[in-house]
């Protein structure tokens, strides 16, 4: 369980995180989303005690990170692929990590195997590709078999195999009852593996909801896509019925304000042949762009942002 409450972090006159509150719960993958510079990494660094909050609190399992008796066993942290000395081999890097908590070499071998790094165990981390660096970071996070995992952009730089692997891994970890906080700038990635999404922009909370709830907020949520032999005729029919129609390429219409049933009936009424008809679900990406767009828009008109 990660609890962030009214967290604010300022660097001089710059406010990186501004009154942020959210909770990542056990058994859940919580996605942490925001544009670059939104304050994701700063928040994560505050949570793991590298930086102190200007005000507010961040706790893991009910304690401040610095008060955890055995941090590696409580929280698996992967902040940045550049948290490894490039001159050290993967094995020695993990071994030194393990030694701080009295973890044996067998466990080091285990996480190397689990992350597919066994063949590269004796290569220096400086020679690693970005994807291998991410795997090494994840291996370090898994080392202490922690109940909470904090992963900053874990799929960044991974090949498709690696992306799938991370997706399965975090689902598995959450299914085991662990808390997983996962940041990403890849919206669709979070849609596929997160239960909840916390979206921030300019250090402020924009949304904290399930993936479905956020998708439902999307502009395109509830739209109907229809492809017909005569889009113009159908469009006229739908407009008179009070729906909103956006013509697209290839005889496709995007319809708002009408259900799939309504569109089908309308097509029958005007004698148009329907080639394709279906409900179009909104994507997390759309919802995200809309939300972060708002955050920029309302930045100067603060009261509007508050009333939303």
């Amino acid at each position: 369980m990660i609890e962030v409450e009214a967290l604010t972090k300022r660097y001089g006159s710059t406010t990186a995180v501004d009154g942020l509150t959210f909770t990542a719960r056990p058994g859940t993958v919580t996605g942490f989303l925001g544009p670059n510079g939104a304050g994701k990494s700063t928040t994560m660094r505050v949570v793991v005690g590298l930086e102190r909050p200007t005000s507010g609190t961040a706790t893991v399992a009910g304690r401040r990170y610095a008060d955890l008796p055995a941090p590696l066993h409580a929280v698996g942290v992967m902040l940045d692929a550049r948290s490894v000395h490039p001159g050290r081999t993967a094995y020695k890097h993990l071994l030194a990590m393990a030694q701080t908590h009295g973890i044996g070499k067998a466990r080091v071998r285990e996480v190397l195997a689990q992350t597919g790094l066994e063949p590269a165990a004796n290569r220096r981390a400086g020679t690693f590709s970005l994807g291998m660096g991410q795997r090494l970071g994840i291996a370090g996070a898994l080392l202490g078999d922690p109940a909470t995992l904090i992963l900053d952009e874990p799929v960044n730089g991974l090949d498709p195999d690696g992306v799938l692997w991370v997706r399965h891994l975090v689902r598995e970890l959450a299914a085991e009852g662990r808390t997983v906080l996962l940041s990403s700038h890849l919206m669709h990635e979070l849609a596929l593996c997160a239960d909840r999404v916390v979206i921030i922009g300019r250090g402020r909370l924009l949304a904290d909801a399930t993936v479905q709830e956020i998708v439902a907020r999307s502009e395109r949520a509830g739209a109907v896509r229809v492809r017909t032999t005569d889009p113009e005729a159908l469009a006229r029919e739908l407009l008179t019925a009070g729906a909103d129609v956006t013509p697209q390429d290839g005889g496709v219409l995007q319809v708002h304000g009408a259900s799939v049933d309504d569109v089908g009936t309308a097509a029958r009424r005007c004698g148009v042949t329907v080639l394709e008809l279906g409900a179009e679900s909104g994507s997390l990406e759309d919802a995200y762009l809309q939300l972060t767009g708002d955050s920029v828009e309302y930045r100067t008109a603060d009261t509007l942002g508050r009333t939303r």
Binding site: V48, L50, P69, A70, H85, R88, L95, G102
Partner: protein, 293 residues
């Protein structure tokens, strides 16, 4: 959300039953970190070779003098050899900040200060072995010139034992001075340049200024019987990190450097120790009180 109530007992038990970073564990980790890099070994190898070679060349050059005493040349290789431990220390002190590895280190040990203490101990052990090896190389270096003059080198009597002890302490001290600088400055190149200036250049500059024959101090020009008054630059030199360190490599029987107070090898060692303690304390305050980014 229902999964929250079905956390496997095993995962929880593991999180609570296992213990965290004790000092002994941090020390083991720091030792692994130090010895798993290539740079410390390179620095150590080059230091031993260069120190031995320069000592040999210097002794060889001196061996033509009629009053040649091989032991007098013992510490000559340290002129360049001192750079090694200093560089080693800076690499240990600033290396993690340069590479970002500190993020891993301080998330594992969020209390931070024991990490610095463990680094000091691990480096002390490594530098001690290096300093002993470098001193041994110096001993080897004076052997052929001594033999060529038919002089038997006696390392058990006179100034030799104290001098060798001072040379080892000199190496360890400079390594720790480098670590303290690196940990305080957190950037390799500025720390390295500061260290080289303080240890190599500053003492030479101060010595040139303090030399009573060169200096403008009229009171010191009348010296005949070796009663050299101490000068301000001379005092500064003796209390500078490099000057104090050098005192450890000068046999006790030589007396003070002209214009400098007579601290002796032990006094010089204590001054260097004070520098190390002050810098380490500043680094510790910075580490404890400020964010690591």
């Amino acid at each position: 959300m229902s999964a929250a109530t079905t956390v496997p007992g095993a995962a929880r038990a593991l999180a609570t039953a296992r213990s965290g970073p004790t000092f002994a564990r941090l020390l083991a980790a720091e030792w692994t970190k130090l010895t798993s890099l290539r740079s410390p070994w390179w620095v150590a190898a080059v230091t031993v070779l260069v120190t031995g070679a320069i000592t040999y060349l210097s002794a060889q050059a001196s061996s033509v003098d009629s009053g040649f005493q091989p032991v007098d040349s013992l510490s000559t290789g340290l002129v360049l050899g001192q750079v090694g431990p200093l560089v080693l220390g800076v690499l240990v002190g600033a290396g993690e900040f340069r590479t970002g590895a500190f993020r891993t280190t301080f998330t594992l040990a969020p209390r931070r200060l024991p990490v610095l203490a463990a680094q000091v101990l691990a480096l002390t052990a490594f530098a001690l072995a290096l300093a002993v090896a470098a001193t041994a190389a110096c001993v080897v270096g004076i052997w052929p010139p001594a033999a060529s003059r038919g002089i038997a080198v006696d390392l058990t009597g006179g100034d030799a034992p104290g001098l060798m002890l001072g040379m080892v302490a000199f190496g360890v001290g400079l390594a720790l001075f480098g670590l303290a600088l690196g940990a305080l400055v957190r950037r390799t190149v500025p720390a390295m340049l500061t260290g080289l200036f303080a240890v190599l250049i500053l003492p030479i500059v101060l010595m040139m200024v303090s030399d009573p024959m060169v200096g403008a101090d009229p009171a010191s020009t009348g010296l005949v019987d070796g009663a050299v008054p101490t000068t301000v630059p001379g005092t500064l030199m003796a209390f500078s990190p490099g000057g104090a360190a050098q005192l450890m490599t000068i046999p006790a029987s030589y007396g003070p450097i002209d214009g400098a107070p007579d601290l002796g090898p032990v006094g010089g060692g204590l001054v260097l120790l004070a520098w190390i303690v002050v810098l380490l304390a500043a680094a510790a305050v910075r580490l404890h009180a400020r964010d690591v980014r």
